[in-house]
Every structure is written in structure tokens, then in C-alpha cells.
Symmetry: C2
Subunit: 595 residues, 2 copies
Amino acid sequence: MYSFISSRNIRFILHEVLNAGDLNRFPFFRDYDKDAMDMAIEAAIQITSSNIYPFNKAFDQFKVTHVNGVTHVHPQLKHLIKSIAEGGWICSGASFENGGGQMPEVLSSAGRLIFYAGSCNSAYPFLTSGSANLILNFGSDELKSAFVPRMIAGEWQGTMALTEPQAGSSLSDLSTSATRTEKQGTFHISGQKIYISGGDHNCADNIIHLTLARIKGAPSGTKGISLFVVPKYKLDGSFNDVKTAGIYGKMGQKNYTAAHLMFGESGICEGYLVGEENQGLTYMFQMMNEARIGTGLLAAGNISAAYYASLKYAFERPQGRHPSNKDITTPQVLIIEHADVKRMLLLQKSILEGSIALLLQASYWADIAAHGEGFEKENAHLLLELLTPVCKCYPSEMGIISVKNAMQVLGGAGYCNDFPIEQYFREIPINSIYEGTTTIHGIDLLGRKILMKQGAALSALYVEIGKDLDAALKIEGISLYSKKLTVAVQKLQQITKHLTDLAINERPEVYLADATIYLEGFSQIVIGWIWLKQAIIAQEKITLVDAVSEQQFYSGKIQTMKYYFEYELPKYVPAFERLLSNSKITLETNPLDLL
Amino acid sequence: MYSFISSRNIRFILHEVLNAGDLNRFPFFRDYDKDAMDMAIEAAIQITSSNIYPFNKAFDQFKVTHVNGVTHVHPQLKHLIKSIAEGGWICSGASFENGGGQMPEVLSSAGRLIFYAGSCNSAYPFLTSGSANLILNFGSDELKSAFVPRMIAGEWQGTMALTEPQAGSSLSDLSTSATRTEKQGTFHISGQKIYISGGDHNCADNIIHLTLARIKGAPSGTKGISLFVVPKYKLDGSFNDVKTAGIYGKMGQKNYTAAHLMFGESGICEGYLVGEENQGLTYMFQMMNEARIGTGLLAAGNISAAYYASLKYAFERPQGRHPSNKDITTPQVLIIEHADVKRMLLLQKSILEGSIALLLQASYWADIAAHGEGFEKENAHLLLELLTPVCKCYPSEMGIISVKNAMQVLGGAGYCNDFPIEQYFREIPINSIYEGTTTIHGIDLLGRKILMKQGAALSALYVEIGKDLDAALKIEGISLYSKKLTVAVQKLQQITKHLTDLAINERPEVYLADATIYLEGFSQIVIGWIWLKQAIIAQEKITLVDAVSEQQFYSGKIQTMKYYFEYELPKYVPAFERLLSNSKITLETNPLDLL
């Protein structure tokens, strides 16, 4: 156990659950067998232990400021970015010829998780990775060679510049404009963007904004949006009139810039078209799964660090006695002996390891979807599409509950800044807003993913779950949980049928009114499956290993699965009860009723 | 609607639900009829609107510091305390001869709620109130006249000094010592206290610590604890060697001192015995219900301010269109039009007004328990004892969910300090730790309150609920919810029987293992009852009123009740399912399984 992550758990999921080393059957991944993966994991932990985790509190205490045109961040950020870049983690999945490492996404995600557990500031280089990947996937050779190498080197920061003041989540209302110039592919950009993560800072030599804008004369709505590379400094070094109007003060992630940017406000701001005109949103959405899984990883990293901090405290803090011991002359026991403290720790562990297993599973599917063929590829693609909302929202939403329980384990100390939990509690909630709010992902799941290809994605999921239900049914000590999950999955089928009937017979307003609740119940069942999957393996292996620490690892898996099935899984029941009800409370409530 | 509280809602609960004006049938409360209560409420809102709420952000930005022996707080605190003191709110329930106002507790609680909605810093004068009440109830006339008048005037700050580093929640392990002196009733105090709210600040001329300590030679455990008045400055003005070792840095409530205190570390620290020796904990616990309801009020105030801030935003912010409107040339709608935004607002309103109604109901019982006679008195006492853990924990725990939803309504803006929500989110979580963690209250409910007098308190509650179930059954539009709650109450009876059987047949460890879960499920049902009670009245009155605003008020009550029954109440189901299970997960989990 490290103080922020369990590498044993990551290896369990990579090798024992996913058999991810087998990905090197694809020529693209030829460098990554099991051992290479383990080395990469250890390297990520090494970087985090040296350059990231020890600075996490200092990062929190260094609030980003914008003074005299310069956006100041903690100077250690430079070393953080550099060490992640030098480790080959920026665009790690890109081809060798593009400067990448042809690393499987599943391993890259495991690395990100480790870095994020060390600090949310590790998101800076992965913003760069996402933006550089956009250029690599859709940009011209000229753009690639001009921008990507410096980004992969960690010298230039990349961003995604989507949100605008008047549009927020409503991307069809974007109004930043792009005016054609005489030079093919070069436009003048004008407009404002808000909440731009990594949007400006003084630990990078340049900031490269992957910017959505509307070319003059383009169609309205989402079909008229194009994607541009808009650097803060042009390639000749001159200022490109991307001005920082201000830095948002945030509850947490204090050293992680959220900038308000103005493009071309007082001069000429050049933007270079990526790919085709009016295809901006399509390109952006092709990278969305990665970005959304990234948010899930950021949340999971946060949960991880808070869990291990509270676990450490519970192992060190004596207080109280067992309820049946009335002899106050006996010493106090460690609080980890108390049932309710163990409950709060199991709750965290179930959310943490459930999230990690799901996120790595999804990343593994991303690898298969990208490099597999035929059924295998299509199946992985469907599962990835379907479960991306869960990957984004389950760690983000349940993370708040998880870190809240970490705080509660410490009692008053958890609320004080002598201990790290309060920082994590301030950092976690933004994940349910990044990359689309939970509401939006509920609508994505129910309004898009469930319906796509006549429900093919959900069918694919049922097949996957069915395999594990069958396997678990044959294993003593686990079969009971197979039965519980079978019931839950049947309920899910029933509810989904009920809702998709509504989709046919009612307005979309009615069908989608409780999409968030559907996402909640759906997620609880998916995580139940993910836990059953882990328990099957743990139950098989626990009798085969000799080392006490290994037995304890597997025993921990089994206990946590049981905790999940006893305490968490049944929460789908009231969610589904609500979804079956004909009462349209939210639609019928007059806004004035809320005064 | 004010920006932080609804006075209409408070009047609804005081007059229409509780008929609290009727308390003036007791001679002690003769000054408080309905009109006098309304005037007091308006006065509290006036004070809050002028002297408290406008400074709430400034309070948050002014972190308490301890420099050169002085603990600095925001200077406005002096005016806050003074205006609450001058309004007669400190010891408002004490007798005229003791300097109080003979105000019913239910009204005093309504006032606190308003002040707390304005700022958590309003807790300072009510700390003083609680400490002064201890002296008034248990101290000698000499102590009363020496300390209480200046406390009631808001010139001296009172505290409760319980917690010690090595003991935390385990009060039997307190070790602060009191050594007899030659002067009867005067002791020398020596020891350390931590997390002392209001423990030191420069907006009071003296700090009066109601301190638990063990007289040399006293029995060990809780039976050897005595209560002392320990002032920072003695009555002759000389320093009494109560030193501030440090101020805790906290996530929120930044201007609300939590002090680490050292008593008699480098000199003589005098303490004056309150009441009898070794009765300290008994005295403290007689004031505990008030203190715990106070924590519930603090949480509810926080929820209220966050709710109205998010409601305001939802009424002002246009974004997106209805799902069936694909015409992007139409203007965007206000976000309050979106079903999921209304859901997040209804969720908050259900928690907020459910909490307030319960807290004022409990305070009303406190009045009856103090001034009634015979069955009425005993019944109110039982109900108050039983529901105090719910009063403390429901607003504290659900408050986190509520404020989280307020944040989500604002999206990214909710996370930024240009808006007030992030402050509330940082402030709310401490309430689940103040005055005993949720774990402790779960054990109080299941281990003590349910069992006391052969279950008499629970029987009394069933009788109360039964009356409203019967009434609701006869009202069209409400009867359905009566039936739903009837089922829930039957389940509660069944579960409680199951658990109390365990209490007989098993170790206390087994009986109490899931006390927190019991408290959760129990609370959901209690709040369901509280909502049904409100809806009965609203449904009756809605047809009788002409004013649109009044119709809307009642309609809001009915819609929110429906929301609660559809979305929140059913959550007792998985909680109770867990409690029926024989699986002893938490007890059986080896701490090493958690690594």
C-alpha cells in the first residue's frame, strides 16, 4: 500500500481481471507485454512519489493568480509536467511515427489514475495529450509537425476551448466566430471562452487552444461548428491576441487554472482549421469518450488518495472501546476496530475499486475497439459507448459520498487542514460538472446509448454480464451474489423496456425526465457486475496463494464485494420504483411552486 | 422569498402546523401569542438582513488567526453578536428573573434558523446561550450573578469545553484535572481541550469555558467528571491562564474559531464548580438535546441559504431548449424549465422544509416537556428524546446532498467563488461531526432511545404518526401517500422488532453494527411523516385561499411532498433490507482486508 494508491490492485485488474498483457497480440501494441506494463506502472508510481504527491498540499495552497498579464502557478508544476512527459505519457497511445509510444489505452489510464491520485494537477499534461491527439487524428501534416512535438515534450500546454458565457452546455449556441483570410486554412478568431482548464500558466512556453468556432456563413446549431488550433503565441513567437480576462477562483483544484479567455479582442487572433469545415463537433466527440473516462479517472484518483489517508488514520487513532466492554480501565482500541468505521472504509473501497475496475475495463474496450476486428471490435465499441456515462458519472457522483466518508472517519480532524481529506473534499465535486454535468450524461445514456442500433449496446452488456453470472453461480461462496445480480439485471431489463415504450408513446420530455435516476440505478447494477467479476477471480485464487498478504488481498476483494452487494447494490430498487411510477412530478411542478 | 430564508414557510410551520401561539396557555409563555411570534420572526429577519447576511462572504474570507496572543476575527462579529443579544435571543428561554425573555423554544429555534441562514457565524451567541443556560440551570446564585448577565449582554463569549486530544468522542477518557483549593468550590484546572468552538476571539471581553474536568481522586470513567466555569479572565480582570495553543484551519466556517486550549499550563487556572461534584456529564447531557437540535438548525440554515441561491440562479440563467424543440433559432429557456433542474430544486426543498418542520416540531415538544404536565409532558419528552438524533443527523447528512445539488444547478459557476454555493458546500459537512458524529447518534437511537422504557418512545411516535395517517386517508389527493407511509411504518415496526430481538440474543456489537443504517431508514420515514403532516394542511387550505401567492405556496408544499414520497422515501427499502440480512460484513472484515 502506498499512501495514495494500491499498485497491487491495479495489477490485479490489468492482469488477473482483464489479461491486458494479451493486447500485444495486436502488432500496434507489440512493446507491451505483462512485464512492460508492470514496469510502466512502477515508473508512474515512482514519478508520482517523487514529483507529484509530496507537493499536493503546496499546490492547493498556491492559488493561481493573473498579475500584469502573467498567470502564475506553483513552479513545481513544471517538474510535474516534465516528468510525465519524459515518462512518455503524453500521447502515449499515438503511433511511433507521430511521436507516441503505441501504449494501450488501458495502461495509459492506469498511469493517469496513479498521477491523479498524486494530485489533480496531473491533469495538465493530459489536457495537452487530449488536444494533441485531436491534431494527430484530424489535423494536417503541417499542423501536426508545427504543434505536436512541443506538446508531447510537455513544453506547450494544450487546452479544449469549448464553453462560452451564453452557451454553457448548449453547444449549439456557440458564437465564437472565425473569419476567412486569404491564407488557406487560416482564420481570424473572435469571441470569448470561459472555464478553460489549463487556459493559461507560466510553466509552459505556449498554450495551444483547440477551439470550437463558427465560420462566418456556416449553418446555425451544431452543424456549423469548426475546430481550430489557436496558439497563444504564433509560430514566429509573436503574440496571437489570446488574452486572459481572468482566472476563476475555485473551491478546490486551486493550482489548476480555469481561465476566462478573449480571442482577437484588441488585435488579430489567428486560428488554423483542423480537418474539414463544420466538422468540429464531430471531431470533438470522437475524443469525448477518452475525455470522459479521463474525468472518471480524475475522480477515482481523488477517491483513492482520500481512502488511503482515512485508512491510515483509522489504523493509528485509538478511541473508545467495543460496545460489550464496559471496563474503562482497559486501553482504548484503534478506531478501525469499530464496525461503523469499517463500514465507512468498505464503502470507500467499494466505490474506489469498483470505479477503477470499470474505468480500466472501458479503456481495455477502447483498445479493442481501435485495434480489433469484426465482432470483437464492434462489441467493444458498443460496450464502451454504453458505459462511458457510467465511467464519467459513477466515480464523480459517488466520489463525493466516498470522500465525505473519509472525512467522517477522521471526525473533526477530517475538517481541518492539518489533514489532507478536506482538500480532497473540495476537489472532488467538480468532476460531476467537467465534460458535461451528470444530467447531460443521463440524457446521453437514456436518450442516445440505450436506443442506438435498436438496443444493441445494452444487449452486448447483458451478454457480458451473463457470462459472469454463469461463472459465479458455480462458485461456492459467490453463487448467492450471482442470484442477487440476476434479479437486478432482470429489473433493469424490465425498467428499460418500460422507458423505451415511453420513448415511443410520449414526448421526449417525459421519456427523459428522470434520465439521471436511470443512470444512477443503471450504474449501481454495472458496478455490481464489476464487483462480481473481481470476486470470481479472488475466490478462485485465494486458495491457491501462500503468502498471507496475497490471501488478505483476495479476502479484501471478497469482503468488499459482499459489502457492495449488501449495502450499495440494493439502492437500485427505489430508483427503479421511481422510474416505474406514472407520477410526473418534475414536469408538473410550476417553477413558482419552488419559491 | 428572502435571499436566504422563507419567512412564509416558518409562519406556516409555527402557526398552521404546530399552532405554536397556543403555548401562551402556559403562564411562563404568556408574552408570546401568534402576533408576538410573528414580530419576533420579522425582527430576526431584519437583524439578519442588516447585520449578518451581507457580511457572510467577508466572514468566509477572514480566516481566524492567532497572533501575539490575540485571536483575531472579523470585526463585524461584534455587531452580529450585539444585535442578536440586543434582540433578546441569548438565553431567550430563561426566566425573567434570570434575565431571559421566557420565549418558547420553538420560537427561539425559528430565530436561530434565520440567523444561521444568514451566516454560520451566528452560532457564536448561541454557544454563549448554551453555556449560560448551564450556569442558570445548575450553578449557584453566585456563579449566576457573576457570569450570566455579561453573557446575555453578548459581551462575554461562552463555550463548551469537552473534547480532549486523547479522548475525542470517548468522554469517559477525559483527563483534564481539577485540584481542590482552600476556597470552597474553587479548583485549579489543568489540561488541554481541542476543537473548542468560540474558544477565543477578540470580539468578546472575556471567554467563559464550561469545562469538563476530573477532580483529583474522583472515580474513573464518566462518573467522575465534574463541570466547571473557567473564565479566560478572572472577575478581578487578571489572566486565568487559559492559553490558546492554536487555532485550527478549517475547510469552512473560516471566521468561526475552533481553538486548541491549554488550562493552567504555566500558571494557575481557576475553575468554579457548577452544581455537585461528579455530575458534570449529567448536566451536560441535560442540555444536549438543545445543542443537538442547534446543530440541526445550523445545517438547515446552511441548506436554506444554498437552496435560495440556486433557485435564484435557475430563474435567471437561460440555457438549452426543451428536448422536443429542435429549432435552435428559438431562444434558450431558463434552466428552471428543465425537468432535472426542477428535480434538483425539489430535492433541496424537500430536505430543507422537512428539516425545518422536524426541528421546530422537536422544539415545540421541548416546550411542552418543560412546561406541560402529566401525559402531555411525558409524551413530548419521549418524542423529543427519540427524535433528537434525527434532528441532529438528517439535516447534517442530507445537507451535504442538498448543497451538492445546489452546486450542480449552477454547473461550473457553483464551483467558483463568484457565487456563494461553494462556501456553503465547505461549511455544511462539519455538522455531521459537531455534537457527536452520526455514528454516535445512530448508537444513541438504537442502543438507548428505542430501548428506553420498554419502547415507550417509539410507541408514542407511532401514535402521533397514526393520527396523521388517518387524517390523510380521508383527503383526496393525499390518501395515496397515507397508504405509502403506512407500509413504511409497518416495515419500521418489523425491522425494529427484528433488531431488538438481536439485542436480547446477541452481543451489543451485533445489535449496534448497523445503527447508522437504522438511523438513515428511520429518518427517511420520520421525514415522510413530517411531509404528510404539512401536505394535509396545505391540501385543506389551498382551496380556501384567494391570493395566487398563497395558492402557490400550498401547491409548492403538495408538490414537494409528492417529490419526497416518489424520490426520497423509498430509500428506506434498501436500508431495511440490509438490516434484515444475517450477513455480518463489517464485524467479520479483518482490518487488514482493507489495505
